[in-house]
């Protein structure tokens, strides 16, 4: 118990001349520090090891802004008593890129995962093609964190990484709520993209489980189509398609380098 003296009564908001609305707005909610501040468009810094294109100036996209069918996917790993939810999330946040499958790059802030950070991604799409895009850290607390995607990303939505105690075991989960961002991505997701994404997160959780000391980590995958309608009004999202832009950027690389070299030194 605290030694501090407790006043017998505390003046209410009305007694000190505040309206109920003003009083409410002066009290910070418990989650205030967990959410990113509002942004209209993403600003990025160049980071080593990634191309870093297709992110600056983009808006965030949630499932409401996506094109394709809406999917809810859950990848979970029972870590038993190998860790606590807080330790599992602390490890995941601090070493997030290390658990990704080989060939994919995640360049986040040096401090790990904090609300408002923008991470740059290079994703291996097969055939030597790298898709350059990014993610925004929408929310982070001690037991979960959420990444939201920008325009041009394969999907519009968010991924929440969480851990919780269930029957004295720690269950670690990646939960995806998404729509493919445009018609081209929707086609790709239908023909192998979903399976590829399932493998990606299963491999990530397996790598995390191994790091946490889980013997023989097994990932349980569940997918549900929440909305089978496609939002044709968002078909024009294809303008920002980071896959198409990345391919063009790859093709243009020799010319860009040549142009840079031919510029007179300042």
């Amino acid at each position: 118990m605290s030694d501090q003296a407790v006043p017998e009564s505390v003046a209410g908001a009305e007694q000190i001349g505040l309206s109920a609305r003003e009083a409410k707005s002066t009290v910070q909610p418990r989650d205030a520090g967990n959410w990113a501040a509002k942004v209209e468009r993403l600003a990025v810094e160049q980071r080593d090891g990634v191309r870093g294109t297709n992110v600056a100036g983009r808006r965030l996209t949630g499932p409401v802004q996506g094109f394709g069918k809406m999917w809810e996917k859950s990848y979970s790993l029972n870590a038993g008593q190998a860790t606590t939810p807080q330790d599992a999330i602390a490890t995941w946040k601090a070493h997030f890129p290390e658990f990704w499958p080989k060939g994919n790059r995640f360049a986040g802030a040096l401090a790990g995962i904090s609300p408002g950070d923008v991470a740059l991604l290079d994703l291996a799409m097969g055939g030597g093609v790298k898709l350059s895009t990014g993610v925004f850290v929408l929310y982070a607390d001690q037991e979960s964190f959420t990444l939201m995607t920008p325009q041009g990303h394969m999907f519009a939505g968010w991924i929440t990484f969480s851990a919780e105690s269930v029957d004295e075991a720690t269950v670690i989960r990646a939960h995806v709520l998404m729509r493919a961002n445009d018609p081209l991505y929707e086609l790709g997701m239908t023909f192998g993209g979903h399976a590829k994404e399932d493998r990606f997160w299963a491999q990530t959780l397996t790598a995390l489980g191994t790091r946490l000391g889980v013997p023989d980590p097994q990932v349980d995958t569940r997918s549900t189509c929440v909305d089978s309608h496609r939002q044709w009004r968002h078909a024009s999202n294809i303008w920002h398609n980071a896959m198409l832009r990345s391919m063009l950027q790859t093709l243009a690389t020799p010319f860009t380098a040549l142009r840079r070299r031919s510029r007179p030194a300042r």
Binding site: K24, A32, W35, G62, V64, S144, W158, S162, L177
Partner: protein, 118 residues
């Protein structure tokens, strides 16, 4: 999943609007409570469901995800989803996640009902 710490009371607000008063924490754990409240709100044939967040004390990203799922359900039934009573903090979260593009936000219940009556 942890126990929900939320209470949702449903009332008919005249016309074709049903109000869901939300008090407490909105997280993924309260999905059954929200869906049950939504079913009760819809049972009277409401064309618009107004989520009253005046009593909202905490919301995480799981809570926002749950609202997207609710939005899909409402869309299937050709219902409009609206929100009122959001503090500036939660209003900004709706704007950040761009949920405000699909859920109409009103400053308070009276404004929402006045708009519905037009």
């Amino acid at each position: 999943m942890s126990e929900p710490t939320v209470r949702m009371d449903v009332r008919q607000a005249g016309g074709s609007v049903a109000v869901v008063d939300i008090k407490g924490d909105v997280t993924a754990a309260c999905e059954p409570v929200l869906m049950s409240a939504y079913e009760e709100a819809s049972s009277g044939g409401a064309a618009r469901v107004l989520l009253n967040f005046t009593g909202l004390e905490y919301m995480n990203s799981g809570g926002i995800g749950m609202l997207v799922t609710l939005l899909v359900r409402a869309g299937r039934q050709h219902q409009q989803l609206a929100a009122c009573g959001l503090s500036e903090h939660y209003r900004e979260i709706f704007e950040l996640t761009r949920l405000d593009e699909a859920i109409t936000i009103y400053i308070d219940e009276a404004s929402a009902l006045a708009d519905a009556a037009r």
